[in-house]
Every structure is written in structure tokens, then in C-alpha cells.
């Protein structure tokens, strides 16, 4: 079998992966660094982030305030030492990106412009028009092109981590172009594969977000942390999952149920006025809006469509002039990607999964308990987001912890012996497994899409916005059944060249493992905190649960869930002022920059 070898291997080529690669290259130019990604780096899901990246730069702002906003927004489940490091390094990383050419929006005399963002009490969100993630990713990718030591494996799909002697020593990957299966050994592996939104049926996430890295680490024996915390955004298009920004509601849009009634008034969110009122009705906190939707749905008052149940966002009364000047992007997205014109049609919306707070458990330097394995970005859980992430914190998180993990992995690799040849036999075994389980298997009764859709439906009903013991247990059983049926999958594509059906089957396997961990952690946490809401345990329980859940993959039987206390340094847990800040900031300021 072919094999190649590197010092530091990045799995995933998004913001975290590329930033880590550059950081490792800057530690020592002699290091052999490689980025392996199942898509070309500029396709990574970082590219679709719109809002902005938070970093303290203005004189009236302070690191402590950013830290406090993050910790209270996270319902006190954030590790405060990690948050302190994060808020300190975020502006430095964002500035470094500016030095690399990122086109941040500017104030008239040329300084970086910042804007308000939901949950942040001060203006500290840097932004590049309404395509911040796009500009950040392309700046990072173009910058990596000038570092010769960074090699790239574009469109290689990692199927397994190679471990020996308690240490991760590389990966097994399929070169999609040719179908060749190869071992790539490395002294340190950093997972930067992003989140797992595709485990759910309604998500803003791209097709490639299947929790690959989480499942790889989980299967190798590393624990996953806080998997039950899944963030929903209350208004997304049901079919495509495209986000409809809160600006549409801030400008005066109404949310209507199937009777054309503004149902939010029944949920303690104020009285319906003709215009928008901050923190009331449609401008209530995100999680309250999502929860109201679920209750309406349970009472059969939502609209049923072939793409799931929805409510209607009504922008028609705002008029053409306002929509074209203040909400042009909303109109463009609806028209261009779902063929709906908000000027004269009702826009179907529903809560959609947006971000995964949980992930591979790491320390402040991205190191997991498994030697040689690091993680950074959405795939990791450090944790700075706790039970609920604030908007515009995830992009700087990729940069800060990507850089830290890159440097830590480079230092670790410099002290390691080369991986031993024993791992190559594991790679040969993996190749044989892929052959016999998928490629050469002649029969089988299940289609990939059937199992995937059933998994998504089950996870949404059991581990959705509201959870309870019965629904979670049902989900857990259903997932076990699906794991069995997964073994019976039949591929129609037996070619080696660019076999995307094999890729989909492997991704489904990853998603089933991740789904199992989400349901188990949700079952074990008998309290409600942040994004995890239990109808049978509606109160927050700091006595028992001011701790992260760590889930380990079972050798046999069910998963093991343990608890790791949250690190509190300076901010004692308090009451979480729901979602919005006391200073009445809308979540996303409805401005379109002149461009």
C-alpha cells in the first residue's frame, strides 16, 4: 500500500484548518505540513458565514465585557479560562487577518468598522459586507498558497484515524479522484472538520457537514463534549435551510400561523403592535421563538408543506421601497434559491439547526486526551460557547483555537519519533473493510437516502428543540435499529473513480455515531440549560449540572456519559437574561453596506 508521511496533518480545510496550517508553518519552516480535505478548501462551509466576527477594539469596550457576554450567553457552561484566552486573542487574530488582506469594512478615516450583534452589549463585531466568512476563508486560502511547506490533499476523504501505542499516528484516506486508499502517517493530527448540522433534517449547514471529525475521534476513543447543545435559528427556509436574518423581523415582519394569526402573543412575548417593538413579539429571543413554533406545531396550527411544517413570515405590508433598500439580500435569497418573492408572497420559515456547540473535547491548546490528536473550530468543544453560542463568536473561535492548536501540534510533533510501520497494517485492514462492506458487496436491501432521512426525522423528534425522556429513548432505539440496517446498505456505484455514493455511505456512518452521542448526552442531562430544553426537567440545576457531559464510545453496550466540572474563574453563575441584552440590540443590524 502507498503511504506518505508528514509532521502535522490538518483534517479539514476551513478557517480553523487553514489558520492552524499557517500557525504550524510559522513555528518552523522545516515542518512538513499537509492539509487534507474532502472538498477543495474554498468550498469549506466557513464560506457561507455572513454576520461577522467579534473582537474588542474600540476604546469604550473591554475584554471583560466580551467575556461576560459570552459566558452569560452560554448559560454559564463556558470554561472561563478558555473564554479569557479567547477574548484576548480574538482581536489579535482578526488584525492578523487584516494584515493578510481581508477586506474588513471600514470607518470613513480608514479604521476597522464594528457593528452591533445579538447578545453583545457593545459594538464589537468586525464584518466584511454581509459575506464575512467568505472573505475570511478566501484570504486564508490565498495566504496559505505562499507557504511552500504546506502541502494539500484536495478531495481526499479520511475514513479512520490510525492509532498505536495510545497515540494517534495518522489517517487512512480515499483519494476520491482515483479511488486509491492510502495511509498518511503524521506525528500530530488536527481535526478541523466542522459541525454536524446534516444530522438534522432542517439545517443551514452544507451537505459536507456530517460530523466527520467528531465521529473519527469518537471511534478512536477520544470523548465528545456537550453534544446535547445544538443551536437552532428560528427563521430558516424549510427546503433549502437558508437563513432568513433577524433583520427581516427587525424591520417589521410578522410571524403568522395557519390562520394568519400572529401567534407569538400567546407565548408571553408582548402584545401585537403594527410596527416592531424591541424584545417583544417577533423580536423576542431566538430560543423563545423556536419554542413557540414547536408548541404551535404540537397543537396543529402550523402549515404543512411537503418540506415539513412551517409558519409564515409576512413582509408584504412593508412595501417594495423598504424591502429593496433595507432587506435586499433577504429578497435575493428567497427569489434566487427558492423562487419566492417576499414582496407579494408569504415566506415559509421554521427553526433550523445552525451550529453545534458540542464536539471533540479539547483543552486550551486544542489537545484532546488522545496523544497526537488535536481539534479546533466547530468540531471542537473547548468550551467557549457553553450551552448557547453568541452570534459572531464562532469565526474568531476558528482563528484563535486554530492558531493555538497549530502551534501546539507543531511543538508536539517536533518532539515525536516517526510513526512506526505497524499502523500500515491497520490501513490495509481498513481498505479491506471498505471493499467488503461497500465496494464489492453484491447485495443488500437498504438505500442510503432512506436511512439518512429516517435518522434525521428521529433525531429531530427526539433531540429537537424540546426534549423529554420518552422521545429521547424512542430516538435512541430507532438509531440502534438504523445502525443495524446500515450494515445492509447496497451501493449502486461500484466504480473507483470519484465514488460519491461511497462517500455518502461513509458520511452516513459518521452521522449515525454522532446522532447516537447527541441523544445519549441529552438523555443524561436532566436539566434545562441554554439550547438544551427538557420539558420534564424545566429548571437549570447548577448543583448537579454545572458540568460538561463527556461521552465515550462503547466497546459494547451503550455509551458512557461522564461529567467534567466547568472551570469558573471570575464570574459566578447568575440568571441568564434571556438571549437579548438589556440594551435592546437586535440580533443582526439590518444594514447593507455600500459595495
Amino acid at each position: 500500500m502507498d503511504a506518505s508521511s508528514h509532521d502535522v496533518l490538518l483534517v479539514g480545510g476551513g478557517a480553523a484548518g487553514l489558520r492552524a496550517a499557517i500557525a504550524a508553518a510559522e513555528v518552523s519552516p522545516k515542518l512538513r505540513i499537509a492539509v487534507i480535505s474532502k472538498v477543495y478548501p474554498m468550498r469549506s462551509h466557513t464560506v457561507s458565514a455572513e454576520g461577522g466576527a467579534a473582537g474588542v477594539v474600540k476604546p469604550d469596550d473591554s475584554l471583560d465585557e466580551h467575556a461576560y457576554d459570552t459566558i452569560s450567553g452560554g448559560d454559564w457552561l463556558c470554561d472561563q479560562d478558555a473564554v479569557e484566552v479567547f477574548v484576548k486573542e480574538a482581536p489579535i487574530e482578526l488584525l492578523q487577518l487584516e494584515r493578510w488582506g481581508c477586506p474588513w469594512n471600514r470607518e470613513p478615516e480608514g479604521h476597522i468598522a464594528v457593528r452591533a450583534f445579538g447578545g453583545m452589549k457593545k459594538r464589537r463585531t468586525w464584518f466584511a459586507a454581509d459575506k464575512t466568512g467568505f472573505h475570511m476563508l478566501h484570504t486564508l486560502f490565498q495566504t496559505t498558497l505562499k507557504y511552500d511547506p504546506i502541502a494539500r490533499y484536495d478531495e481526499w476523504f479520511v475514513t479512520k484515524l490510525l492509532t498505536d501505542d495510545g497515540r494517534v499516528q495518522g489517517v487512512v484516506a480515499i483519494e476520491l479522484m482515483s479511488g486509491k486508499i492510502q495511509a498518511i502517517t503524521a506525528k500530530a493530527v488536527i481535526l478541523c472538520t466542522g459541525g454536524c448540522g446534516r444530522v438534522f433534517p432542517f439545517t443551514t449547514n452544507a451537505n459536507i457537514k456530517n460530523g466527520d471529525g467528531m465521529a473519527l475521534a469518537y471511534r478512536a476513543g477520544a470523548p465528545l463534549k456537550d453534544m446535547e447543545f445544538v443551536q437552532y435559528h428560528p427563521t430558516g427556509l424549510p427546503f433549502t435551510g437558508i437563513l432568513i436574518t433577524e433583520a427581516a423581523r427587525a424591520e417589521g415582519g410578522y410571524l403568522l400561523n395557519k390562520d394568519g394569526y400572529r401567534y407569538l402573543q400567546d407565548y408571553n412575548l408582548g402584545k401585537p403592535e403594527p410596527g416592531p417593538v424591541l424584545r417583544s413579539m417577533e423580536l423576542g429571543p431566538r430560543d423563545r421563538l423556536s419554542q413557540a413554533f414547536v408548541k404551535e406545531d404540537q397543537q396543529g396550527r402550523t402549515i404543512q408543506t411537503p418540506y415539513g411544517s412551517v409558519v409564515h413570515l409576512d413582509l408584504r405590508h412593508l412595501g417594495e421601497k423598504l424591502i429593496n433598500s433595507k432587506l435586499p439580500f433577504v429578497r435575493e435569497l428567497c427569489l434566487k434559491y427558492q423562487n419566492i418573492d417576499p414582496l407579494n408572497e408569504l415566506v415559509p420559515v421554521r427553526p433550523v439547526v445552525h451550529y453545534m456547540m458540542g464536539g471533540v473535547s479539547t483543552d486550551l491548546d486544542g489537545a484532546t486526551p488522545l496523544a497526537g490528536l488535536f481539534a479546533a473550530g466547530e468540531v471542537a468543544c473547548v468550551s467557549i460557547n457553553g450551552a448557547n453560542r453568541l452570534g459572531s463568536n464562532s469565526l474568531p473561535e476558528c482563528l484563535v483555537f486554530g492558531a493555538r492548536a497549530g502551534r501546539a501540534a507543531a511543538r508536539f510533533a517536533a518532539e515525536q519519533k516517526a510513526p512506526n510501520g505497524k499502523v500500515l497494517t491497520q490501513a490495509v485492514d481498513e481498505e479491506r473493510r471498505l471493499e467488503s462492506q461497500f465496494l464489492s458487496k453484491p447485495d443488500g436491501g437498504e438505500r442510503i437516502s432512506t436511512i439518512r432521512e429516517e435518522m434525521q426525522g428521529s433525531v429531530e423528534s427526539g433531540a429537537g428543540i424540546y426534549r423529554d425522556q420518552k422521545a429521547l429513548t424512542r430516538s435512541a432505539h430507532k438509531l440502534q435499529e438504523l445502525q443495524e440496517r446500515y450494515r445492509d446498505i447496497r451501493l449502486e456505484d461500484h466504480n473507483r473513480t470519484f465514488n460519491t455514493e461511497l462517500e455518502a455511505a461513509l458520511e452516513l456512518g459518521f452521522m449515525l455515531d454522532v446522532a447516537e452521542s447527541i441523544v445519549e448526552c441529552a438523555r443524561a442531562r436532566t436539566e434545562s440549560r441554554g439550547a438544551h430544553q427538557r420539558t420534564d426537567f424545566p429548571a437549570r440545576d447548577d448543583g448537579k449540572f454545572l458540568a460538561h457531559s463527556l461521552v465515550y464510545r462503547p466497546a459494547e453496550g451503550s455509551c458512557r456519559v461522564e461529567y467534567l466540572p466547568v472551570k469558573i474563574t471570575r464570574w459566578a453563575p447568575g440568571e441568564r437574561v434571556y438571549g437579548q441584552t438589556s440594551k435592546e440590540q437586535p440580533e443582526e443590524v439590518p444594514t447593507r453596506r455600500a459595495s
Binding site: A151, R152, M177, S178
Partner: protein, 142 residues
Amino acid sequence: MNPSTAKPRPAYTEFHPRWYRPRVSVYWWLGEWQYLRFILRELSSVFVAAFVIATLLGLRALRNGPEAYARFLHRLQTPTAIVLSTISLFFVLFHTITWFNLAPRAMAIRLRGQRLPDIVIAAPNYVLWLVVSVAVGWLVLR
């Protein structure tokens, strides 16, 4: 296949020779209306050149005396010459209009942060063309 490193190395796999590489046909320009328009636009330069040559020949005929010039004019009035002249006129007009319309694409002139719209740069060309044509026409027809 080896990963892409600093030195660009051709990346071959077992199936590389059999990636499908369609040949671009010699008649590629007939495949699409936009391509045909482009080729006609480029071809118009031939007619512009022909027009310049005809003008030079006319000047030479003028210098050689009234009979030479009369012969030249006579040749211009044969049916073939008239047909060719009409076609040339069409192509020269086409050439001019496409040139004026495309010229602003090469010039990004900004006034107070906003880029000047193409028409602001194209229009003076048309105006100048009109003025010169009127002036020449008046001179010739006087």
C-alpha cells in the same frame, strides 16, 4: 497521486490517461451566438483595413491626375464594388459601435467613490463621431 507541493508536478493516477479530454473543434465559433458575434467583430478589422487601403488608393489616384482619379471612381461604381462597399460599411459601423461600447470596460474612473457609468465614457465618443462626420460631410457636399 502525490499531494500538490511547491513544485507543480503533473498529477497522474492510474486512470489519468483516460480522463476525458474533449477536443475543441475548429468550428468552435459556430457553436454559440456570442462566439459568432465575437468572431464577426474581430473579422470587421479586416474590412476596416480594406477601407483604409481603398482610401490610400484613392489618394494615390488623386495625386496621379484627373484621369487616374476618374478611373478609380469608375472602378468603385461597379456592382461588385458597391456590394463590397456596403458590406464593408456594415462591418466598419459594427466595429465602431462595439469598440465604443466596450472601451469603458477598460477604464474604471471613479468620482467621489462611485464608478462612472459606462455611458458617460462611451457617449463622448459617439458625440465626437457625430461631430466629425457632420464636419466631413459638410466639407465634401458643399
